[in-house]
């Protein structure tokens, strides 16, 4: 119920923002639209973060690097002349394999260790993956083409135009994938026995064992799913940036996605979705405001460099002060 209300309020706010923005010269509407699209990618990574947090009560610092690794695997596959869809399969399968190895080699031996140990282990895993990316693909930026090109062979833009802003097909795909995955995961955790068992494991691993449920199986499932979500986010996001570099997902996406997950409520999958979109819009509108408004004779972004990041932190602060468990999280 709360999910529906909060989502409806945010949609109304978004609609009001667009209405007001329509009356402003050089208004924020293209930025709001772009923010929703960027928010879809933040939401995808946030879904992975929430999944691991729900299952293990740990923030997974390696979540971003699942995406970077997948993007590199896709890049290497395309460079070998393989079709794009084969590259996607290779990227997804390879990242899932890395998720399996990480779970078996690092996470499972720490299954009964304090959570802080697991947290530090995920940092080590992220650094290891970044090291491997540098070793194998070198540091120079690579270009990764999108699933559907932004312009067709005659130079006309593909996709749709909203508020005079052309939206690339890749962004529309990201939004569609986020909506679908959010729905599937919400169904999985509320309706299936396996989903319930994952939640139960996160709340009391000892009791889960008592019930005859293999917590190792649950752990494996969580990390493979997280790797898969990270890989999908990487494949969808990196072509939009134009540059594939080591740690690109950690440096560009992890922090906004984490902020989105916290705003949504760290244990809420719909919250991750909503939080990701909120962060995307806030960041984008902050960027617009930085160029649009002036203080004295200087633009806002000159007075406050990185004003869009400040805006995100202000929203985070406001949410945490008014509702510490996040917009859709449950009170502890």
């Amino acid at each position: 119920m709360r999910t529906t209300i909060v989502s409806a309020v945010l949609v109304v706010l978004l609609g009001l923002g667009l209405l007001v923005g329509a009356g402003v010269e050089n208004g924020p509407n293209p930025f709001i639209t772009l923010g929703v699209m960027n928010g879809a990618v933040f939401g995808l990574v946030a879904l992975g973060l929430v999944l691991v947090y729900k299952g293990t009560r740990v923030f997974n610092f390696a979540q971003g690097e699942f995406g970077t690794i997948a993007a590199y695997l896709l890049f290497l596959s395309i460079n070998r002349g393989w079709p794009y869809w084969v590259g996607i399969l290779v990227a997804l399968a390879g990242t899932v394999l890395i998720g399996l190895v990480l779970e078996r080699g690092v996470i499972r031996p720490l299954i009964n260790a304090p959570r802080i140990n697991v947290l530090v282990a995920t940092i080590a895993a992220a650094l290891f993956m970044i090291g491997m990316e540098i070793l194998i693909a070198r540091i120079e930026p690579r270009s990764l083409s999108p699933i559907i090109a932004a312009v067709d062979s005659s130079g006309n833009p593909n996709g749709v135009t909203v508020f005079n802003l052309p939206i690339e097909p890749q962004r529309l795909i990201a939004l569609g994938v986020l909506l679908s995955l959010g729905g599937v995961l919400a169904w999985f955790f509320s309706k299936t026995d396996l989903g319930l068992a994952v939640l139960a494991t996160s709340q009391d691993a000892f009791a889960t064992r008592v019930m005859g449920i293999g917590i190792e199986r649950m752990s494996r499932f969580i990390w493979v799913s997280a790797a898969l979500l990270g890989a999908i986010a990487g494949i969808l996001y990196v072509p939009l940036t134009g540059a594939l570099t080591p740690a690109v997902m950690t440096s560009n996406i992890l922090i906004p996605a984490f902020t989105g997950a916290v705003i949504g409520g760290m244990t809420s999958l719909p919250g991750a979705f909503v939080g990701g979109i909120v962060i995307g819009v806030v960041q984008s509108v902050g960027l617009w405001a930085g160029g649009h408004f002036t203080i004295g004779e200087k633009a806002l972004q000159e007075v406050i460099p990185g004003v869009e990041q400040v805006t995100i932190l202000l929203v985070l602060l406001a949410v945490l002060l008014s509702r510490p468990q996040g917009l859709l999280g449950k009170e502890a």
Partner: protein, 238 residues
Amino acid sequence: MSLLEVQELSAGYGSLPVLQGLSFKIEEGETAVLLGLNGAGKTTTVLCLAGLIKPWGGKITFDGKNVTGWDPRKLVAEGIVLVPEGRHVFPELTIAQNLRIGAWPYRRDRKHTRAIVEQAVEYFPRLQERWTQLAGTLSGGEQQMLAIARGLMARPKILLIDESSLGLSPKLTKTVFEVVQKINSDGTTVLMVEQNAGVLKIADRAFVMEKGTLVYEGQGGEILDHAEIREAYLGAPA
């Protein structure tokens, strides 16, 4: 043939021995109780039986099978189910969801699961009244009821109940013991770990433990009449 036979069982934590050659038998259809002071090894015994601690030595035979060192998953499927000390309900899941998790071995058989749920809530009607309430918001007594009902969901042949009266009022304790008696009379063998002398009224057999071994075995009623044992192990004066 006994349903459960424990022979020369030894186990411990790290290098600290707790059980040192424990032996006892439980017949099918009995309610048995393990008594003893703190540190006697009662909880360690049921944890061993449920596969949550690997025994160092000895043998556990259940329903004619040597189940020593088996994984909890296999033991639950075989019919040995533990209701752990401290309840350990899943606090952020509803009562209905907690029970569904308890039926994990039968998760592919919805019809069967529904039938067991109905039977479990017959014992504890209060659970049905709070079906969609989160388990963490229940009172201690209600959580204990949920923990026992959840244990029943796996259709145990033997239900191991560890300290079910811990932290409960005398009235609630009596209710819990009465339900356990009913569960037993419906055909489930029960082994309880208790420090509450009231349990002896429903016990067919009682085992008294001290320092990891058995020091006394008899019928439940016998211990109630045995002033020395009652005073030494149950803290109840003659």
